[in-house]
């Protein structure tokens, strides 16, 4: 699918031919991207692929060298206060406010926005109600990230950027965080998320984009990425001489036939798998880098 096909008038984010270099090093090299309003879009890619550079250009923090960028209909290089009021940002690093309590920081930020959400309600929604009087530097890593999200959504943004929001979370904290993101998405907020965790992208995103070497090399629903819904399934089982496996386009027919070879029709240790998002992703990243080496 090309960007032109995906792009609909009034997309929340539209990027064409984005380019950014730091000296000799090209971080973003002709990237195209479109994110529809109300969509949860996850950007995947290895470290140094250009994810954060791209996101920070969209947030208005960095200048681009070339390309067209429109975020909520505005070029972020000319961001105004009115535009910033419609955009929520959760940066990659946690900014710390020494000697301030959670509720003090949230209230301070609420005052910057024209139409802020209720500070207490937001603190409760991100699960910091019991910590609202705690000094921010005493919070745990996960709690600090919740505060980051509280500050990102306090202005009731139409579009929320989340740059690696759950890095360093334990599994339970990550699940709770996902619920928070799902609730925001259900409320109509467009979300652009970058992450290293493929299962996170799979759990949250309507569509996933893969960045490699500064380009978007694939985009689509997580189930279809890299054509994995159509690719061959792997059937594995325990044969008389040890583990065996086979690739097949028709796993049902294959298993039906296979069952006849075992007494009682029960196949020992049977599994049928299709390529996971991780398999599809790793295959793509591999192809991407070899292309570059040849170039």
């Amino acid at each position: 699918m090309t960007v032109a096909e995906m792009s609909v008038a009034g997309d929340a984010i539209e990027v064409r031919g984005l380019r950014k270099a730091y000296g000799q090093e090209v971080a973003v090299d002709g990237l195209d991207l479109a994110v529809a309003r109300g969509e949860v879009f996850a950007l995947l890619g290895p470290n140094g692929a250009g994810k954060t550079t791209t996101v920070e250009i969209l947030e208005g923090y960095r200048r681009r060298d070339a390309g067209d960028v429109s975020v909520l209909g505005v070029d972020p290089a000319h961001a105004t206060a009115a535009w910033r009021a419609r955009v929520g940002i959760v940066l990659q690093g946690t900014g710390e406010f020494y000697e301030l309590r959670v509720e003090e920081v949230v209230r301070l930020f609420a005052g910057y926005y024209p139409n802020p959400d209720d500070a207490d309600a937001v603190i409760e929604r991100v699960g910091l109600l019991e910590k609202r009087r705690a000094l921010t530097h005493t919070l745990s890593g996960g709690q600090k990230r919740r505060l980051d999200v509280a500050l990102g959504v306090i202005g009731r943004p139409e579009l929320l950027f989340l740059d690696e929001p759950t890095t360093g979370f334990d599994p339970e904290a990550r699940r709770e965080f996902w619920e928070l993101i799902r609730a925001l998405a259900a409320g109509g907020t467009t979300i652009l998320l970058t992450t290293h965790y493929l299962h996170e992208a799979e759990a949250l995103a309507d569509r996933v984009g893969v960045i490699n070497d500064g380009r978007l090399i694939a985009a689509g629903p997580p189930g279809e990425l890299g054509g994995r819904s159509q690719s061959a399934a792997t059937v594995s089982w325990l044969g008389p001489g040890g583990p065996e496996s086979a690739q097949t386009e028709k796993p049902t027919a294959f298993v039906y036939a296979l069952a006849g070879r075992f007494a009682g029709g029960e196949i020992p240790s049977l599994t049928i798998t299709r390529p996971s998002l991780e398999d599809a992703y790793l295959a793509m990243i591999d192809t991407g880098s070899s292309t570059k080496e040849r170039a």
Binding site: E96, L100, Y113
Partner: protein, 276 residues
């Protein structure tokens, strides 16, 4: 699809209200960091006590004791420390911690951040000066201004000095590359200025080239202005030109305010260098 229609483009709070809120928050942060409070407020007091105890009897002229000369300079120097040094060290740390980057990502008008810092500094500087005077009056025999003209001079020299040093502190905060290097970059500047501007020595006894160099910076003029307030008028003959030169004090400090403001507006960085 988000159907909410934004009814206002800016915060419903006015700029002064936002600035006041920011100032209250800054002050809260300052007061809660006990070490900072103690060191910022107590260090000049300690210096006054030390100088007041060492140079008890040395007379300069016109009945002015050396300790009175030094303490007058310390009032000016403490303004420099509070305004310039505190900000030039604190802001790079906030930049490193990503606090400034976060502010930049909100619709907060940039001015609000600066207003907050200025309000915090103003409160600390006033408190500092009151404490210094309270200690210096009984210890070294410095007395409060007696005439309205002296009070007026005291107020405008203080305000112009605070403004110039605060703006320079904000501007200088862009020099240090990291929060960790900030004290190393800033402290020598403040310290050298104190030595060459006639805080610890009688200014006119310094080498001429040093006097000329010091005259380029605000502290020398702040000290001179303070001496005109706290020392007898007859002592003016001991100044480099034989007078207090209050017009020149106002001119130089005013010029530093304008220059500092220009530097703030053109060079202030909200993100670290590695952030692009």
């Amino acid at each position: 699809m988000n159907t909410r229609v934004a009814t206002a483009e800016r915060s419903t709070l006015t700029l002064p209200t936002l600035g006041l809120r920011q100032g209250q928050t800054e002050l809260k942060q300052f007061l809660r960091s006990r070490e900072q409070v103690v060191f910022t407020l107590a260090f000049p007091v300690l210096m006054v006590v030390i100088f007041g105890s060492i140079f008890t009897g040395e007379l300069l002229s016109s009945g002015v004791k050396f300790s009175q000369y030094v303490v007058t300079g310390m009032i000016a120097a403490s303004l420099l420390t509070t305004c310039f040094q505190v900000l030039a060290i604190q802001i790079p740390i906030e930049r490193d911690r990503g606090v400034l980057k976060r502010f930049r990502g909100t619709p907060m008008p940039r001015t609000v951040y600066f207003l907050g810092k200025i309000l915090m500094i103003l409160v600390i500087a006033v408190a500092e000066t009151i404490i210094l005077l309270a200690v210096a009056m009984p210890l070294v025999g410095v007395s409060l201004p007696t005439t309205a003209a002296d009070w007026l001079t005291f107020v405008w020299v203080s305000l112009l000095g605070i403004t110039a040093c605060t703006l320079c502190g904000i501007a200088f905060s862009s020099v240090a590359r990291t929060g960790r290097s900030a004290p190393a970059v800033v402290t020598p500047v403040a310290l050298v200025l104190q030595f060459i501007s006639g805080v610890f020595f009688v200014f006119t006894q310094l080498p001429t080239w040093m006097q000329q160099f010091a005259a380029l910076f605000p502290l020398k003029w702040m000290c001179q202005g303070m001496r005109s307030v706290f020392l007898p008028d007859a002592f003016a003959t001991q100044e480099p030109t034989g007078s207090w030169e209050l017009g020149k004090v106002a001119l130089v400090l005013g010029a530093w305010c304008v220059g500092g403001l220009m530097l703030c507006l053109t060079t202030f960085r909200w993100t670290t260098k590695r952030d692009g």
